[in-house]
Amino acid sequence: MDQLLPSVFNGLILGAFYAVVALGLSLIMNLTGTINLAHTSFLTLAGYLAFSLVLAGSPYWLALILAPLLTVVVGIIAERTLIRPLYGRDPIYSLLLTFGLALVAEEAFRLIWGANGVPFTPPPSLAGTVQLGFMAYPVYRLFIALVLIIVIAALTLFLRGTQFGLRLRAAVLDSEMIAALGTNTQLLYMINFGIGILLAGVAGVLSAGLLGLNPTSGNALLMPAFICVIIGGMGSLLGSIAGGILIGVVIALTTLYIPAASEVSMYILMAVVLSIRPRGLFGEEGLFG
């Protein structure tokens, strides 16, 4: 029992990671039908950029903000040059293209930062544990939870409360009509992709301190993020968040009680959810078949 609460807490934080990555995937998928298999490559890139920034003398806090922004620049270049020609084509082509991109990225990380992992520890101010009353908990994990909550809240406010968010949600429903009404949809696609990458970037810098940093470290988050989207239902951002939390807790509990099934549990959860509700928990019927 004394292990249960910390496990659930860890699961929630892991789930929030999955949710933030899945939100980025979802945003990009909903608007343009782009299946971004390179999404977690951007996550790894952000981790490495933060590592290099800190190595070059930047304070951690600056790197936490700067590295995701630099990753967004790389992401937007990739979107303009590689992914844009595929808009309007079968989503499978974007899936294949980003698969190729992920291969290239992994090798590029290996060439630039070496095949072995590099150490990226959070600053001393985030080290140690804090007594929460019912248990002691690492400060860094609480910090992660705080940042992720802020990120998710900020995104929700941005999409629900701004003109841009309104246009974006309208474009998901009918991008031709939005274009006819005078919105520059190419710009909309670009900014939307940038936001998706920004979410991956923030998750990347935070996860580097928690899960380590090597050329393939981001890959561990890709499949869980896709499962979040599938479980939560495509087309629903709330679904991605709910899917993330659900998966995180299920993984934490299986790791605690049935360690051998820890990786498979989320796939089994997915199978169960889909056999009860084929379009996922909050998915819109008809979107993406």
Binding site: L97, G100, M223
Partner: protein, 334 residues
């Protein structure tokens, strides 16, 4: 020249080259095992081709079925001391069982949902193989002895070249079966499902049952390929089932030309030889392979053979004697 005749002629040339490959390849410094790999991977890429190229459904978990075929061989040899033929049958049956299992979840899904689910279910098989250390050896994989081939009371041991010819024979048979399939009403129905499934349903056909049979054909091809691969390298490991391997099979099918009969072979040839040559030049060969792939997806969505056939058909005044289905993007809203 008539396009149909050109098709037959070039097919014959390819078959002759493949039959002579063990004699030709040493002149290029290539081991026969590399050529075997081309044939085996081509067979696996054919399973992608059946689903994606002809039915329009992205089977992105083909490696799991390939891996089930491989594990069927290694498990039956290790635990049941199965012979050559039995172990391969075991592999195919295991792959078919896996296909049946996932098809229960896949059948009513179309488009990208189908693709993502095939990745996810493929990962289940991967983690099961990875975690069942006692049975599969986990991360270390399984090594085993090459089984002997029993025929009329005699035992034959297969060596590299003999194994190549056996693999090639099986490949050509599956290719012939596939070619025949594409000409049959069944194959035409698959292409119709790709082009407009709603219309197929309105014609009174139960498209789900056609998709199920296509899945089983794909599963059998992938399983057979995996079984032959295991027997060729005498080693089975979990990464064979991983989605990255699926991606490679998909890459081969699309590179060569999804929706063409010979496309997967061309794709596998370019992939395996490209990897072989590039990896001797640079350790970062995946950058180039990925780059070629990206260029291909943007520039030649029909793949190399698909583009060539389309160009030939266009020169012929748009009349298709050789029935090559269009590599049109399938609808996402099916």
């Amino acid at each position: 020249m008539n396009l149909k005749r050109l098709g037959y002629l070039s097919s014959a040339v390819v078959i002759v080259i493949m039959l002579l490959a063990p004699q030709i390849s040493p002149h290029f410094g290539l081991d026969i095992s590399i050529i075997s790999e081309v044939v085996v991977f081509a067979m696996a890429a054919m399973s992608v081709n059946v689903m994606f190229g002809y039915t329009g459904l992205p089977l992105f978990g083909s490696a799991a079925l390939f891996g089930l075929g491989a594990y069927g061989v290694s498990l039956s040899i290790t635990f049941l001391h199965a012979g050559f033929v039995v172990s391969i049958l075991f592999g195919v049956v295991l792959a078919l069982l896996g296909t049946l299992l996932i098809s229960w979840f896949l059948l009513r899904r179309r488009g990208i949902y189908f693709g993502l689910l095939t990745i996810a279910f493929g990962q289940i098989f991967y983690f099961v193989a990875y975690r069942m250390r006692d049975v599969t050896g986990g991360e270390d994989g399984m090594t085993f002895q090459r089984p002997v081939f029993h025929l009329a009371g005699m035992n034959f041991a297969f060596h590299e070249t003999a194994l190549y010819y056996l693999t090639l024979g099986i490949f050509l048979l599956t290719l012939l079966a596939f070619w025949y399939l594409t000409k049959s009403p069944f194959g035409h129905t698959l292409i119709a499902i790709k082009q407009n499934e709603v219309r197929v349903r309105h014609l009174g056909l139960n498209s789900d049952s056609f998709v199920l049979v296509a899945l089983l054909v794909a599963g059998a091809y992938a399983g057979l390929a995996g079984a032959l691969y295991a027997i060729s390298i005498l080693f089975t490991f979990p990464l064979e089932l991983d989605w990255h391997q699926s991606g490679d099979f998909f890459l081969m099918a699309v590179l060569g030309g999804a929706g063409t009969v010979w496309g997967p072979l061309l794709g596998a040839l370019i992939y395996v030889l490209g990897k072989e040559i590039l990896s001797t030049i640079t350790p970062a060969w995946e950058i180039f392979l990925g780059g070629i792939f990206i260029a291909c997806v943007i520039g030649f969505p029909r793949g190399i053979l698909g583009t060539v056939i389309a160009a030939l058909v266009a020169r012929n005044g748009g009349v298709k004697h050789e029935e090559a289905p269009e590599a049109e993007p399938a609808s996402i809203s099916a």
